[in-house]
């Protein structure tokens, strides 16, 4: 059974079928990519899975349980983490604090316990800090732990966002155009990073424009065009798929 199962998902904006009857599955431990030209409905599909938008009809199930139309924080609690196309870090917070927010679901101190600084919360705080530092080290940005996150270089900000998402210890990581705004060298780096994340046992679903990256790292690819799925398969098949070539290059 697939880890994430999207079945006959449909989203209408007025008369526009932004996502039209799309079905696919993401196998556990795989890297799956969603590609398609601008306006194909990739981001809408992403927002439907993460709960930012409510689906018109259809099913999304994760680990066999339906998760469509839940709030984003509930989806996160199911074990799905995400990054954003335009990096969304918390301003006025350091890189370390940003990652520490990612431990929110893995800790439990509430208002009262926090205000009274109960002894067990101090222990919890220490664990949050240690785990977050580990993640910063994993992405080789531990040196910037105490720097305000939004003042870092673009690539480092992306790394902080990745670290924050991984701090959730998710089963599935959704990446919204992880290579957007990166140069060729950085894109290759991020490719390696995504493979490394997969090797940690985390399933990855990404939306991406950069073909070289997608073809390099994906196990399977879904192609969308005008809201509909036109192809699905391994990279080699997609590259030679008649409809895909037509959509990208014209007749």
């Amino acid at each position: 059974m697939a880890l994430l199962d999207v079945s006959r998902l449909h989203k209408k904006f007025g008369g526009l079928h932004a996502v039209n009857d799309v079905s696919f599955g993401v196998e556990k431990g795989a890297i799956k990519a969603v590609i398609g030209p601008n306006g194909a409905g990739k981001t809408t599909l992403f927002n439907l899975i993460t709960g930012a938008l409510a689906a018109t009809s259809g099913l999304v199930s994760f680990n066999g349980a339906p998760i469509q139309n839940r709030k984003p924080h509930q989806i996160a609690a199911c074990g799905i983490a995400r990054t954003f196309q335009n990096i969304k870090l918390f301003h006025d917070m350091t890189a370390l604090e940003n990652v520490m927010v990612g431990r929110h679901l893995r800790s439990r101190a509430g208002f009262l316990a926090s205000m009274l600084h109960m002894p067990w919360t101090l222990k919890e705080e220490r664990q949050i800090r240690e785990k977050s530092m580990e993640l910063l080290a994993l992405f080789e940005i531990a040196a910037y732990a105490d720097v305000e996150a939004t003042s870092l270089a673009f690539g480092q900000q992306r790394a902080v966002e990745f670290a924050r998402a991984l701090a959730l210890e998710p089963a599935l990581l959704l990446l919204d155009e992880p290579a957007a705004g990166l140069n060729m060298h950085e894109t290759a780096e991020i490719g390696k990073l995504i493979t490394r994340i997969r090797d940690l046992g985390i399933t990855v679903l990404l939306v991406e424009h950069d073909m070289s990256l997608v073809m390099d790292i994906s196990d399977e690819i879904v192609v969308l065009s005008f809201g509909e799925k036109i192809a699905e398969g391994v990279p080699a098949d997609i590259q030679n798929h008649h409809d895909v070539i037509k959509v990208y290059l014209g007749e």
Partner: protein
């Protein structure tokens, strides 16, 4: 250790000021310092909502008034005429009522101050909860408008209700006994004692909020300020956290209202006015929004000056002016300004030009 230093310094300053008023025979200052501390308690609570969670409230005078007015009404309304009613007998049975005599020697039966105090704070918290559920879905200016509307409603209610004394407010509010030997009252004999009660409350409030900000919950609140979407994606239930912090700040405001009312022995409708809410927001802005210490210091200083009558009849105008100036010249609060650099610049003009000259040369 580093966190305890400012608190220790504050405690020393509080004690030194009290001693100094004793030596210089200016004990009358303690009255305004006591009142300023209670206002500052409201302001630090508002600071957490505005500066850290990023949610504006122009209705905090409303919560202050709910606290003050309910406690005042419950401890002054004579229930003697209803003493045979079942409800009153039950309340009496639970020890929630106290009997006494008014100034004319007539029998008086009112709610015990401690019970009235708890009821008032619970009421304010519950109001914040009910108001917050729909209103906190709004953002920015819309949230400001909605909370402003709430403030106006509370103001008109206290102004139009006979129970709340209409334009006269409520007077003859009895003292609030806290512990044996500690009573919140405006009696001259207890001026020092009350100064320490007020500052003790403020210091406890500061410790609680300082701890809160420096915790999992504090980070979640700041993340909401940073990006609500990203906060949700990391699993923060933004709606619930916003609501809880709003209720918490309303409780701080209500506690301040209750204590100040019992200290003053009364409360008037001006405490509920919209200008008060604007003033609180202005003070938080002056302190630097996300700066708890700045908010507290400014809360004490500006309220003290206002209570001493330094601003005269231009009181509200001064706070409006402060708000404009701060927004223009120091949107991060006056503590954020580079004071050290400014003074250094004043005294070492020549040194500066020398540095510039080097930079142009390109020599290090």
């Amino acid at each position: 250790m580093k966190k305890l230093l400012p608190l220790a310094a504050l405690i020393i300053v509080v004690i030194v000021i009290q001693k100094m008023t004793g030596w210089t025979d200016t004990r009358f200052y303690l009255t305004q310092l006591t009142m300023a501390a209670y206002y500052a308690l409201l302001i630090v609570g508002l600071c957490v909502v505005m500066g850290y969670a990023g949610q504006i409230s122009l209705g905090h005078a409303g919560f202050f008034a709910i606290g003050g007015y309910i406690s005042a009404a419950l401890t002054t309304i004579n229930l003697i005429a209803y003493q045979d009613r079942l409800v009153i007998r039950m309340l009496d049975g639970f020890g929630l009522l106290v009997a006494g005599q008014d100034i004319y020697g007539d029998a008086l039966l009112v709610v015990a101050p401690w019970a009235a105090c708890i009821a008032a704070v619970v009421c304010a918290g519950a109001t914040a909860w009910v108001l917050g559920i729909p209103v906190l879905k709004l953002k920015g200016h819309y949230l400001a408008m909605a909370t402003l509307g709430f403030g106006i409603i509370i103001y008109r209610i206290v102004l139009a209700s006979a129970v709340f004394g209409e334009a006269d407010g409520i007077s003859e509010v009895p003292p609030l006994p806290l512990l044996p030997g500690l009573t919140v009252s405006g009696d001259f004999g207890t001026r020092e004692e009350n100064y320490y009660i007020a500052w003790g409350m403020l210091i406890i409030g500061m410790i609680l909020l300082r701890n809160l900000i420096d915790s999992r919950v504090g980070r979640a609140l700041r993340s909401i300020h940073g990006s609500e979407e990203a906060a949700e994606s990391t699993g923060v239930n933004t709606a619930r956290f916003k609501l809880k912090v709003f209720v918490l700040s309303a409780v701080f405001a209500a506690v301040a209202g209750v204590f100040l009312t019992h200290y003053n022995g009364g409360i008037g409708p001006s405490e509920a006015s919209v200008m008060k809410s604007v003033r609180y927001v202005a003070i938080v802005a002056v302190g630097g929004m996300a700066h708890l210490w700045g908010a507290m210091i400014m809360g004490v200083v500006l309220n003290f000056l206002s209570l001493r009558g330094v601003f005269g009849s231009y009181d509200d105008a001064v706070f409006g002016f402060i708000l404009i100036v701060i927004m223009l010249f120091a949107p991060n609060g006056i503590l954020s300004l580079n004071w050290r650099g400014y003074f250094r610049g004043l005294f070492r003009r020549s040194g500066n030009t020398e540095e510039t000259g080097r930079a142009i040369d390109g020599t290090p």
